[in-house]
Symmetry: C2
Subunit: 438 residues, 2 copies
């Protein structure tokens, strides 16, 4: 058997610990599939003495993780500390300067610096791999880069954040409200003590921007993702969606369009959506992730599995290492980084679809007429309307009015919202959720 | 850009035509992702003059396809003629003898001769790839070999035959009976004029035996797959399953167990199963395929997409070609063929689970008592029993009795069937369908 692939691990948190356990537990299998052993030679973490359930003393230790990439006994650095900048980015740069490969689960760093890092990796003829950065254990980056490689991808979308999906599907199952379920998820460790990264959609947007770059050959543009999280989704919204045959899911979606001047434009959105119960994403529950890619020959592909957790994430990290051990370096974003094309954001105004709108209103005459008039004046046609449910806003009881539009231009909805902006009839801004198109 | 990868195509039927169209339509994209162009240099098919919707005269023609592998202007042969033996196998052998790579969609040939061909390919340091042989466009072989490579796989199962799934889901939607839906599927081209390969489960068994080998590192043992097709499923069975919260799907399932002597044994079964409506496979409709793999770190992965058709199958063929163009040769079955271990078939008798049993009985006193007594004597505990529906058997009207067992050993059901064998109360042998365990 050939020489082992020698790796250094930066970060021994949940995922780092999982990687050590996986490499130790499945060593023989990995060596057979990779054609050579994968061996941890050095590690670095914040706290050397912490009990992690494995014997860390068998590996060389570096207090300064940035040194890991410079060690002579390391072929590939595995970065699991996280953070878009700071030590993770310094380590990545040092690693490529030293001519070593990098495997990372760091979605923020790739979303912000992926293009720079891919160029550095390619210039150094080194691997840069980040399967674990998107959708945990699901091999969706491999699925797009290799499995669907023969296809022009029209659209990529999915459930990219397990915390949000856990909260939404628990709200659905129990009828409880957002804050209550979030608090429970935090107590159980399914949500961070500062949950905004997840529930405000930032994490899903990081992942979506990475998927879009690979799918469409465009440069990553995280800043252009239109992001709305799930904080404003009420149990009442879930009940009303259910009555209409839909489930609510936080969907990240990207596609490309060509504008009148021939310019490719990139559409990227992370919003809570209504998903029809016949759509496979409607049945993705709990912390599961799922990604759909639509190609011009393959049609619709779905990849589904655990979106987080030490085992699944470690599985993705080690899959990348096995590929590298087998000699597969390849372009990090499927085509060479220099060929990725910048694509300005698409104008969502001329997109069409159906939407769910929910208004929190004062219970008084004329409120419904005002909403209906705004819809009419904006040219938005209403398919169904429900007035149902009550909610407390700032100590006052308010009524909820929900409606589903007919298929029409999104610009009409924006215009209707503009007409209603500041109306004293509305106790808070309306909630707009798009309905996922098949 | 590097030298093109030069390919020869054997077979220009539905899939072969799709491969030509794909390579022509997506040529630029393929070249960017593969790092070099993929170019068809030679073709062979039964009828040279047939109009196939593309200009076949731009490629060199061979009347004898076995010659393709020997041409100096060919790097990889794509075999799309089918058949376990005969010309396809001769072509594969010739190709490796000439030191060329082979990509094939031929599940029968791989199921019967995969080990021999993998050994030949490895000895010649040539690629042997067959993503298109299993589940059409879905990159599930890549998913197992690479995406889940870090894991010991416990179990692999799924919906592997689009024709059966189309028939079952159409029966479900329309309440029509098997023969009627099959005839319609044949008229529409969704089923072959001789449909037995699909509906008797042979095609699914080919695919399952290939998946099992990759998942478990065992030699392919197609002959040991326990196969039952869908011919005997009645509209009444679907209705009764539905009333209990289940859908009926033809499931191929494989796992490995270690027997008392430490011997690894391989369990492989293709049977119609009852799938609970909360399981993701329950919502796989029409000609769609889906495969689940369960790994010791990644948990449950699901891959879903189009299981057949020219576009999806061509997508899988060209994905293999792109991998080869990128220099990824790799072991055909994930580990070297010489290391694949023969595993004798597992004894299904000590497996446990729930089952659905349906009896077609004469309408007379004592019938139910006889069935119930056989269950009791065999130690099978009944969870629910339905007597409902009538069916014509040999011109006589018969009653249907369906029951679902409690969780228990499969050996009990075999014993109960033995006790009832030949009973004059039964108009035909009982139908046994297992309930898919989560």
């Amino acid at each position: 058997m050939s020489e082992p692939l020698r790796i250094a691990l930066a970060g021994l948190g949940t995922v780092g610990g999982g990687v050590v356990r996986l490499i130790e537990a499945n060593a023989d299998l990995i060596a057979r599939r990779a054609g050579r052993p994968i061996r941890i030679t050095a590690i670095s973490a914040r706290n050397r003495g912490k009990n992690r359930g494995f014997d860390a003393t068998r590996y060389a230790w570096e207090d300064d993780m940035v040194i890991l990439g410079e060690r002579d006994d390391v072929d590939v650095v595995v970065e699991l500390v996280g953070g878009a900048d700071g030590p993770a980015l310094a380590l990545a740069r040092t690693t490529f300067e030293a001519g070593k490969g990098l495997v990372t689960a760091n979605k923020a760093m790739i979303a912000h610096h992926g293009l720079e890092l891919a160029k550095r990796a390619e210039a150094a003829h080194c691997a840069l791999r980040f399967e674990a950065a998107v959708a945990g254990g699901i091999p969706v980056i491999k699925g797009l880069k290799e499995g669907a490689a023969a296809n022009h991808i029209h659209r990529v979308y999915g459930i990219l954040n397990g915390t949000c999906n856990y909260i939404l599907s628990t709200m659905e199952d129990t009828g409880r409200d957002f804050a209550d379920v979030l608090a429970e998820a935090q107590a159980k460790g399914f949500a961070e003590s500062d949950p905004s990264f997840d529930i405000d959609g930032i994490d899903a947007a990081h992942k979506l921007s990475i998927l879009a770059s690979i799918a469409f050959g465009t440069t990553i543009d995280f800043g252009a993702v239109d992001v709305t999280g799930i904080r404003r989704v009420l149990a009442a919204d879930i009940a009303q969606a259910d009555a209409l045959g839909y489930y609510i899911r936080l969907i990240g979606m990207a596609d490309v369009e060509t504008d009148a001047t021939g310019q490719t434009r990139l559409f990227q959105r992370v919003h809570p959506h209504l998903v029809h119960r016949d759509h496979p994403l409607a049945h993705v529950d709990g912390a599961t992730n799922a990604v759909v890619a639509e190609g011009n020959f393959v049609g619709r592909l779905l990849f589904q599995g655990a979106g987080a957790g030490d085992g699944p994430t470690a599985s993705a990290v080690v899959a990348d290492l096995i590929d590298i051990a087998r000699g597969d370096i390849g372009a990090p974003f499927s085509i060479p980084a220099a060929e990725l094309e910048p694509a300005p954001p698409a104008d969502s105004g001329h997109r069409t679809g159906k939407a769910y709108l929910r208004f929190t209103v004062a219970d008084r005459p004329g409120t419904l007429a005002e909403i209906a008039a705004a819809m009419r004046d904006a040219g938005v046609s209403i398919e169904s309307l429900i007035q149902k449910g009550r909610v407390e806003v700032a100590g006052e009881s308010r009524a909820l009015v929900s409606l589903v539009t007919h298929h029409g231009p999104e610009s009409g909805i924006v215009e209707a919202m503009r007409l209603l902006d500041g109306s004293p009839a509305l106790a808070e801004p309306p909630l707009v959720m798009h309905i996922l198109e098949d």
